[in-house]
């Protein structure tokens, strides 16, 4: 599903690469934790998968597509197959829960009848039934992140990228978030989650890829966060 072949990424004004000779494969339906300290290259990895950045060297395949050969006008079609969740939720404050989720479908031109059908389904899936008319500022952090996950998942992406989704959320609520991610993973969606949260990584017992200074230093199935942190 995601294939990195000897990928190096240099940013122009830095002398150390953000990612260096990274080789890795993420299979369809896998759940992968991406761990490592700040600046270890986790975000660069996610940006490369979305083709927001181009690698300096190496090849990247996502969902069977060679990103180097993907023309700019086809990038939106790639992104329709990838859902994204962030630490800061990125909801639209003037839209309620339903409208925030529907927005993701409206802007890719889905018919209104389809939107009316699938949005309530995904609201149920993330456990927000009964709150579809709330505005984001009337919701707790955990609930806002559920809305963001619903928006990321509503178009049934093949891959879900989560960049520290529990970073702004207390540990008790984080468990709920992880349950939703697990539920999404069980539908066959590949999930890649970058995180600092050792407790979550240890409790889930999923594949762990550890980055340090842009290099993969550990790739372990059913791993833990690691002793050093």
């Amino acid at each position: 599903m995601i294939h990195f072949d000897n990928v190096t990424k240099m940013y122009p004004s830095q002398n150390r690469p953000a990612l260096e000779s990274v080789n890795l494969d993420v299979e369809k339906g896998e759940f992968v934790f991406l761990v490592g300290p700040s600046g270890s290259g986790k975000s660069t990895f996610l940006r490369l998968v979305l083709k927001e950045e181009r690698p300096t060297e190496g090849r990247i395949h996502v969902a069977g597509k060679d990103l180097a050969r993907l023309t700019n006008w086809k990038v939106p079609h790639l992104r329709r197959r990838i859902g994204c969740v962030f630490q800061d939720f990125r909801l639209l404050p003037q839209k309620n829960v339903y409208q925030n989720i529907a927005f993701a479908l409206e802007v890719i031109g889905k018919p209104r009848r389809f939107i009316r059908k699938v949005v309530p389904e995904v609201i149920d899936l993330v456990g927000l039934d009964g709150k579809r008319d709330r505005m984001p500022d009337e919701l707790s952090g955990g609930e806002q992140q559920r809305v963001a996950m619903a928006r990321a998942f509503v178009n049934r992406p093949m891959i879900l990228l989560a960049d520290e989704p529990t970073g702004n959320i207390d540990p008790a609520t984080s468990i709920g978030i992880m349950k939703v991610l697990d539920r999404i993973n069980r539908t066959g969606t590949t999930v890649v989650m970058a995180t600092h949260d050792a407790a979550i990584v240890d409790s889930m017992r999923k594949r762990v890829i550890e980055l340090e200074y842009g290099k993969v230093v550990r790739d372990q199935s059913r791993g833990v966060y690691g002793q050093a942190y």
Binding site: L50, C84, R90, A104, V107, G109
Partner: protein, 303 residues
């Protein structure tokens, strides 16, 4: 394509920076109105020129006993031989198309008719006061009037050569000058309008950066991301054009038509001319705002 969605986004965009939108509409309106006025002037000058092209003739007045100008007192009244000589000289010129002799009787009859409103003036004038003349029609009045006049002026028997072009030239210069001034101001304002469109779109893109970043993230095509901004710019352009069309109708009916009142001849612009100019300003307005929005967006909304 979700038209309703696009127009909702456009409405939000226009409302959020209302002051900029109003400024944009006003500047587009004024620049298009000035451009249109310039075009109306061009048409007016053209109409006037064509009108005169057909009408104007050179009048070669001949010396009579009643005329006391220096060359007439020197030569005496024109003799028949001199008249024949003048006619032949005129007819021989390549620029001349026809030469007609207007006798004193005919000239007096014409005079009486022209001033029929003013019998007191007519009664003061007697048959012999108005000289006979050659009326010369030219192939190209504007270009050749001066040359022909010069070649015949001062010939024996000729009192003076008159052609209205010498007066018209001043009138043309005035109209041309006014037109050029209007067009230059219009161009300056159009440049201002372009900068304002770019700035409004940039501001709008900044105001909606959350929406656009999410749109890009969930895979909205560039077209979908940019269309609301494009439509926003063009709607401002169309509103500006509507105002401009109103101003142009006012310019025509109050300005140019009132100007016609000073002249006895009919060179008024038709409604078709006005519509032509208004349609042209619509095209300029929509292209101007649309193209500027599009180019601005290419800089600010990259994939």
């Amino acid at each position: 394509m979700r038209a309703q969605f696009i127009f909702h986004e456009v409405w939000i965009g226009l409302r959020r920076n209302l002051t900029m939108t109003v400024a944009l509409v006003v500047v587009v309106a004024i620049s298009l109105a000035l451009l249109g006025t310039g075009l109306l002037f061009v048409k007016q000058v053209d109409n006037t020129r064509t009108y005169w092209q057909g009408k104007v003739q050179l009048s070669v007045y001949l010396c009579t006993a009643a005329i006391a100008s220096p060359q007439c007192t020197h030569n005496g009244p024109a003799t028949d031989a001199e008249k024949t000589q003048i006619r032949q000289q005129l007819a021989g010129l390549p620029q001349v198309s026809t030469v007609t002799y207007l006798s004193q009787n005919q000239a007096f009859a014409q005079f009486k008719q022209e001033f029929s409103q003013d019998p007191a003036f007519v009664s003061l004038t007697s048959r012999g006061d108005i000289p006979d003349s050659f009326q010369v029609r030219l192939k190209n009045t504007e270009a050749d009037a001066g040359i022909v006049a010069e070649s015949i002026d001062g010939a024996p028997g000729v009192d003076q050569v008159l052609y209205p072009s010498s007066i018209l030239d001043k009138f043309y210069k005035l109209l041309d000058g006014a037109r050029n001034a209007v067009v230059i101001i219009a161009i300056i304002l159009i440049i201002a309008a372009i900068l304002l469109v770019a700035n409004t779109i940039r501001l709008s893109a900044f105001n909606r950066r959350r929406e656009t970043s999410i749109m890009r993230l969930v895979g909205a095509s560039n077209f979908y991301v940019q269309l609301p901004f494009l439509v926003e710019g063009m709607i401002a352009g169309i509103f500006g054009w509507l105002l401009a069309a109103g101003l142009l109708i006012a310019v025509k009916s109050l300005g140019l038509n009132a100007l016609q009142g000073y002249f006895s001849f009919d060179v008024q612009l038709s409604g078709t001319d006005l519509i032509e100019v208004i349609v042209l300003t619509l095209i300029v307005g929509v292209l101007l705002t649309g193209a500027t929005s599009f180019l601005t967006l290419r800089r600010y909304l990259r994939v």
